[in-house]
Amino acid sequence: MKDRHVVLKEVTKRFGQVMAVDGVSLEVGRSEFLTLLGPSGSGKTTTLMIIAGFESATSGEVYIDGKPMIQVPSYKRNIGMVFQNYALFPHMTVYENIAYPLKMRKIDSKVIEEKVLRILGLLKLPEYSDRYPSQLSGGQQQRIALGRALVFDPPLLLMDEPLGALDKQLREHMQLEIRNLQRALKVCVIYVTHDQEEALTISDRIAVYNHGRVEQIGSPEELYERPNSAFVANFIGESNLFEARIQRIDGEMAICTGDNFYCQVQVPEESAVGQNLRLVIRPEKIYFVRQSGPENGLTGKIEEIIYIGEMTKYSVKIGEQMVRVKRQNRWGEKKYQVGESVSLGWSPQDVRVVL
């Protein structure tokens, strides 16, 4: 990536015996929207705090716009940030809150007024400038926090679970609004969330965190369609994991068998007969077949059926394993009963070999 704005090199943060961030390297483009996604305690927020300058890295380097940042104090980094609880100053009005970063930069008060009013207009909140934060709703506070982080035109905006406190509908609305604002202002955004749906909706690229490391980084589509690991496959969307052993290799394809099933998969080049593989397949890529074909075959009993509107979810017991299947509710789709014996199938291209 030649137009990169933020670069992290082997950044590590240790709290006592715990490796909060463990050798993370990232590159973020100048007007890219990167999301750090992971379960709580996986190191994504700590990474953000290191970029913002609130935590020092135990080792590694952070570059912003080509300049090393480790020695630069947070107030000189010129980074906008939206905090989880907004961190609006309760003793200042909306206007004073948004004007604060400009005042700290000793900008002329006329220019400050112009910029603050422009931002309030952009956020569609011009009539609120004299209110105190405690007099605003959660969604309005969220916008003010966003306005305060953007008013001084920072080239980089950090967001730490900014929508966590909002209800679902407002959250979905704000996701689109943040996305549109980011595209309009062409600002680089690093966004932290544990909500995979939010990450898929909002990001150009997603870095999936697990135990202080980046498991995989890529576009939403790459991560969903081609996960590298069982963790990523499970964290982003639902998936079924199978253990299997290679029986025969035929060019790029291999025939594998596992408990009560066989299937064909595309295998990595260095695979050998007898090797154990972990296979991932998404529930919506599995379908019911009348009879198992040569590509794959597994037969089991339906244990549970859940109707969720656009889809029906089935749990099928194959040997000891529960396989999840999702089918769209279309006309002509066969209705199944709990306890019925069924055969399952899929396209070999829909199976992923993971670590």
């Binding site: 913002a52 300058g53 609130f54 104090p73 947070s74 107030y75 000189k76 980094r77 010129n78 980074i79 906008g80 940030m81 905090f83 989880q84 609880n85 961190a87 100053f89 309760p90 003793h91 604060y100 970063p101 700290m104 930069r105 105190y132 934060p133 405690s134 305060r148 001084f152």
Partner: protein
């Protein structure tokens, strides 16, 4: 209620303290305001109390910041040490300060009074300021620094305005505790630096003068005004989202 009885008594025209008063007169107030000794003691008490309020709040803020924010070995021991004056009887404090200060020639000086009163006010101050600080959301300081303010500007723009109710409560408390303190004053005042409570004490011991009832009434009025103003201030401030110390 017994306290309030003093007020009508202070308007009595007679030379003896009586209740209910027979008649009405302001002569005891006049005797207070025209006696240079009383006025002198009153002004001294004010000066000392102001000094104590300022000094103990300053030390209290610094100590509270260290204890709440700092992470170092022996923090528990240091906390116990700072709060230890609370468990020492006042008379012991007074006697030991008296011996210590007499060597330093501080007995009979206003500075000596300020220092002695500050020492007893500091633990309360630390408790009040620390409990305000514990409730303070440090993310606000981070936000301020992220927005371009260094530590000093962050303190004056964000931290101080948000904890000032705690500081004002602490200062008022220190002021009142010094202003009506008697036991330490008896020892440290000497003959030259007599405070108002010391002078009242002497007044009770040597002659029961109804001027005392006038002074007591003024005292009550003053304390009430101080308390009400701090309450008024606190409420107005809370509306703006300021922190207060838990009661």
């Amino acid at each position: 209620m017994p306290i309030l009885i003093v007020i009508p008594m202070s308007f009595s025209p007679k030379r003896i303290i009586e209740f209910p008063p027979q008649g009405f007169s302001l002569k005891w107030y006049l005797s207070y305001f025209t006696n240079p000794q009383w006025i002198d003691a009153t002004l001294r008490s004010f000066r000392v109390a102001l000094g104590v309020a300022f000094l103990s709040t300053l030390v209290g803020v610094l100590a509270a910041f260290g204890l709440v924010r700092g992470q170092f070995r022996g923090k528990g021991c240091l906390t116990a040490f700072i709060l230890s004056p609370l468990i020492i009887p006042v008379i012991i404090k007074a006697v030991s300060v008296y011996y210590f200060f007499s060597k330093l020639h501080l007995v009979g000086t206003e500075l000596g009074l300020v220092l002695a009163h500050t020492a007893s006010a500091i633990p309360y101050n630390v408790i009040i300021v620390a409990s305000t600080l514990i409730n303070f959301d440090e993310t606000l300081e981070r936000a301020s620094m992220n927005l371009g303010a260094n530590r000093i500007r962050t303190f004056f723009h964000i931290t101080l305005p948000l904890i000032q109710t705690g500081l004002i409560s602490a200062a008022l408390f220190a002021f009142i505790s010094s202003f009506d303190e008697l036991i330490i004053a008896i020892f440290i005042s000497g003959v030259k630096a007599i405070t108002l409570p010391k002078m009242m004490w002497d007044g009770i011991r040597f002659e029961v003068n109804p001027t005392l009832t006038a002074i007591s009434s003024i005292f009550i009025l003053l304390s009430t005004v101080l308390l009400l103003s701090s309450e008024y201030f606190r409420k107005g401030f809370q509306k703006k989202g300021g922190l207060e110390f838990p009661r």
